[in-house]
């Protein structure tokens, strides 16, 4: 197991890598006993970290654990309050962003900082042209430069395409290629796999290994355990601003990383559901649902208290199915019954009135009003329940919102805080909490924990189980995260090309069989 490090002990740790010799010159950058405070809050407490040349190093931690602060100190955005930064074994007095780049440290932020309206080639070349202090653009040189940068990754991207026509994974490759153009020695990648499909993650990893082969170190910042274990050689875990564990990646497993990241053991109980013997009709009964432009129907049932997974590759029609049930695909055929009563679901209003709730894939753009308060975001689907005559009953609205915040355990000092300032996990609880107020009977979640850290993820899962059991909700969970489905669903439906093609029972064993089936389908 990993070596526990007591943050207060303060002895700088010099990690060892896989039996290689251990000369000091092997270390590219080292943080020693770094402290950083923000208005009295201690963000980093005596953190020490060393990255070797050409090492793939993973920095793991939950949201708010101090990961971003470490990135910003390494890239010179913040100066530490105490501690030392050594580059090539030499203490650096002041590391500002320009000095960091000169030392060969490049960061790829989550938003990539690219220009959608410019071509791939120009996106790649702009920084270089600016550094050369050019006044005129030599388009031939731009193309040559861009071609070289892309070739270095060993991938194929159309240089003449406008960047915004590329998928997220393509944009990320462009961002990586651009960062490599200044010949860095350390590439820091902040949550690089968040928006990628499994296949895109594999491409990314191939590129990361290629970068490593060129002698460049990569600091991979993530909270996805599986990916850290797969890609990295060395792992550092931080929690609440302290380093809590480090070591060769091979010495960790998912459970131990989770324990270090959260400081607790998270329950590994799969979800069990027993049919009630009351003979009630199923909560949701879908018969021969046909989407426009599709042939063949979809049939399935959800009983009260069930949590059913819906797995399938991207483009399998999962999202379309969910949207049709939420009244967003007018013109679908077939029959839908809720509690045994046939319903029409041709508008969102009808779907909500019949008790269907939907948590969209991209909560930031589709699910939340980021600049608005928590209260308003929670009440937005239920304002008709807090009216008195023509007016809003403000006191009642506030009481209901407060109730939901408590029920969903949303961590916030105030109901008036804009949702945009909440962490991913808390924001997702707001979206789910919203539907508790509409007497939802069927809750459809599309990627319920994308971009949510492990601790919050477990909380959300626990909450969903509780809702299913106590309120008799039927939950349909769409996810790319197979372990998540296996863990939380009593059965998993498989979708391919708009059809349900299989069903497996939940539990640990199902993960392998689902991934097998998916692989065969692709």
């Amino acid at each position: 197991m990993s070596r526990e490090q007591n943050g207060a002990a303060g002895a700088p740790a010099v990690p060892r890598t896989r039996g290689r010799p251990d000369p000091v010159s092997d270390i590219l950058i080292e943080l020693r006993d770094i402290e950083k405070r923000f208005v009295g809050v201690r963000a980093l407490d005596q953190v020490s970290l060393a990255i070797r040349r050409g090492q793939i190093h993973c920095l793991a931690g939950e949201n708010g654990s101090g990961k971003s602060t470490i990135i910003k100190i390494m890239s010179g955005v913040y100066g530490p309050d105490a501690g030392q930064i050594l580059v090539d074994g030499v203490p650096v007095a002041r590391l500002d962003p320009i000095a960091a780049i000169r030392h060969g440290i490049e960061v790829i932020y989550q938003d990539f900082s690219l220009f959608g309206n410019l071509t791939v080639a120009e996106n790649l070349a702009l920084g270089h042209e600016l550094r050369e202090k050019r006044r005129l653009v030599d388009w031939r040189a731009v193309r040559t430069l861009a071609r070289r940068a892309i070739d270095r990754l060993g991938v194929e991207i159309d240089l003449a395409a406008d960047l915004e026509t590329l998928p997220t994974s393509g944009k990320q490759l462009v961002a990586i290629a651009r960062a490599l153009m200044s010949d860095p020695r350390l590439l820091i990648m902040d949550e690089p796999t968040t928006a990628l499909t499994r296949r895109e993650v594999e491409t990314l990893f191939r590129v990361v290994r290629e970068i490593q082969r060129q002698g460049i170190a990569v600091l991979f910042v993530s909270h996805k355990m599986r990916e850290m274990l797969e890609i990295s050689e060395w792992l550092t875990v931080i929690r609440n601003g302290r380093k809590v564990a480090e070591g060769e990646t091979g010495r960790f497993d998912e459970a131990s990383i989770t324990r270090h990241m959260t400081g607790q053991d998270l329950s590994g109980e799969p979800y069990r559901w027993r049919p009630a013997a009351d003979g009630k009709p199923p909560r949701l009964d879908v018969r021969g649902l046909v989407l426009p432009g599709d042939t063949g129907g979809t049939d399935f049932k959800l009983e009260a208290g069930e949590i059913v997974g819906l797995a399938g590759l991207l483009g399998s029609g999962r999202t379309e199915l969910a949207l049709a049930l939420f009244g967003m695909v007018p013109g679908h055929g077939g029959q839908v019954l809720i509690d045994g009563v046939p319903v029409r679901l041709s508008t969102v209003q009808e779907a909500i009135a019949r008790g269907i709730a939907y948590v969209p894939e991209d909560r930031l753009t589709e699910g939340l009003f980021l600049a608005q308060s928590i209260e308003r975001n929670i009440l937005v689907a239920a304002y008709d329940r807090v009216t008195r005559g023509l007016m809003l009953d403000r006191a009642r609205a506030r009481a209901l919102a407060a109730e939901t915040v408590a029920a969903m355990q949303i961590a916030t000092p105030s109901l008036d805080k804009p949702v945009g300032q909440l962490s991913g996990g808390n924001a997702q609880r707001v979206v789910i909490g919203r539907w508790l107020m509409t007497d939802a009977k069927v809750l459809i979640l599309n990627g319920p924990t994308v971009g949510v850290d492990v601790g919050s993820k477990a909380e959300i899962h626990r909450k969903l189980r509780e809702l299913a059991q106590t309120r008799g909700l039927a939950v349909l969970m769409i996810s790319d995260d197979l372990p998540e489905l296996a863990q939380n669903c009593n059965r998993i439906l498989l979708m391919h090309r708009g059809r349900l093609v299989g069903e497996v029972a939940g539990g640990e064993a199902s993960e392998a069989s689902v991934s097998d089936m998916l692989r065969r389908l692709s």
Binding site: S113, F115, G116, N117, L118, L126, G127, R135, V137, W139
Partner: protein
């Protein structure tokens, strides 16, 4: 892919323009007569030069509705100064009008960059103030042909081609179109081949990313609004020289026509997209539609309806295009 050319907005605009010309020609064969075409081109010059400035502002993600006021101020101040001093040249007055426009544009840039007021509000305000100051402090009286500086009129009357009719009347292609063409080429070269030009696209694409990659956005903002003001100032004096009249109340409502023309030419109202070629086509289309409405004896009030509709339809089409690209 043979149809790839139609992925470029310019090709689509050119096709629509050609179709519209054929239709108008069918309704009214006089459209194709040389004197009508020369007249059309002449009407392109002033609006077109202003449109070049607005194009840069739109690409940068901003908007400018103050330029007609700046054009009037530059024109009227310059001519009043010429009259007061008895100055008889051509080059210096145009330099002065251009500089007045640039200086006023810099005021817009300062508010946009330092105070971070949204460009629509800034330029609404500065435009109104400049018009007010001009009428209140400089004067509201029109300068007619009898007092207009003769060299300006003579300059603006120069023609590339002159054709006399048998009956003693005369028509020709104004030489001002050369100025328009030269300015258009200059703006095209700046946008395409200089880093300042590329920084305008970058700013309009993503301001934060532009800052991170290392562009000096202050310089870009001042360049964009300054150039828009300068082009407007230049166009203002040119306009007055071409119509032999300096009216301090001129250009009212012109911002709509010019913005309509630029958007019609494929520039995105959200920034980041637009080209000089498209703008030239857009200006030509707008002027042609206005001109045809006049030929068809449709009341001028209805022309405003048409221009307004053009803005909405063209903006909707570019918005639709941009949405499609993003998917």
């Amino acid at each position: 892919m043979s149809l790839r050319i139609f992925h470029r907005s310019e090709a689509v605009i050119a096709a629509v323009l050609l179709l519209a010309m054929i239709l108008i020609g069918l309704v009214n064969p006089a459209f194709w007569q040389l004197d009508n075409l020369f007249g059309l081109i002449r009407s392109n010059v002033v609006i077109g030069i202003m449109a070049l400035g607005v194009l840069m502002v739109l690409i940068s993600g901003g908007i400018d509705v103050s330029f007609p006021a700046f054009a009037v101020a530059a024109m009227y101040l310059t001519i009043r100064a010429m009259l007061a001093l008895g100055y008889d040249g051509v080059v210096l007055p145009f330099v002065m009008a251009t500089l007045i426009g640039a200086a006023l544009g810099a005021v817009n840039a300062a508010f946009v960059h330092y105070v971070r007021v949204i460009p629509l509000i800034v330029t609404l305000g500065t435009g109104a103030m400049v018009r007010g100051f001009l009428l209140g402090m400089v004067g509201a009286s029109q300068i007619n042909i009898d007092r207009m500086p003769k060299p300006l009129i003579a300059f603006a009357r120069s023609e590339l081609v002159g054709i006399g009719n048998g009956d003693g009347t005369h028509y020709g292609l104004t030489a001002m179109v050369v100025l328009y063409g030269a300015l258009a080429l200059a703006v095209h070269l700046v946008l395409r081949y200089t880093l300042v030009g590329r920084s305008i696209y970058a700013l309009g694409g993503d301001a934060e990313a532009a800052r991170r990659v290392g562009f000096d956005l202050r310089r870009t903002t001042f360049f964009v609004y300054g150039a828009a003001g300068a082009l407007a100032g230049f166009a203002g004096l040119l306009h007055s020289s071409m119509i032999w009249l300096a009216n301090p109340r001129d250009f009212a409502g012109l911002e709509l026509d010019v913005i309509a023309a630029v958007v019609l030419g494929g520039a995105s109202i959200f920034g980041g997209r637009g080209s000089v070629l498209g703008t030239l086509l857009g200006v030509f289309m707008l002027v042609m539609v206005n001109n045809s409405l006049i030929i068809m004896k449709i009341d001028t009030t209805w022309q405003r309806v048409v221009v307004g509709a053009i803005v909405i339809v063209a903006t909707a089409m570019t918005a639709w295009r941009d949405r499609k690209r993003r998917i």
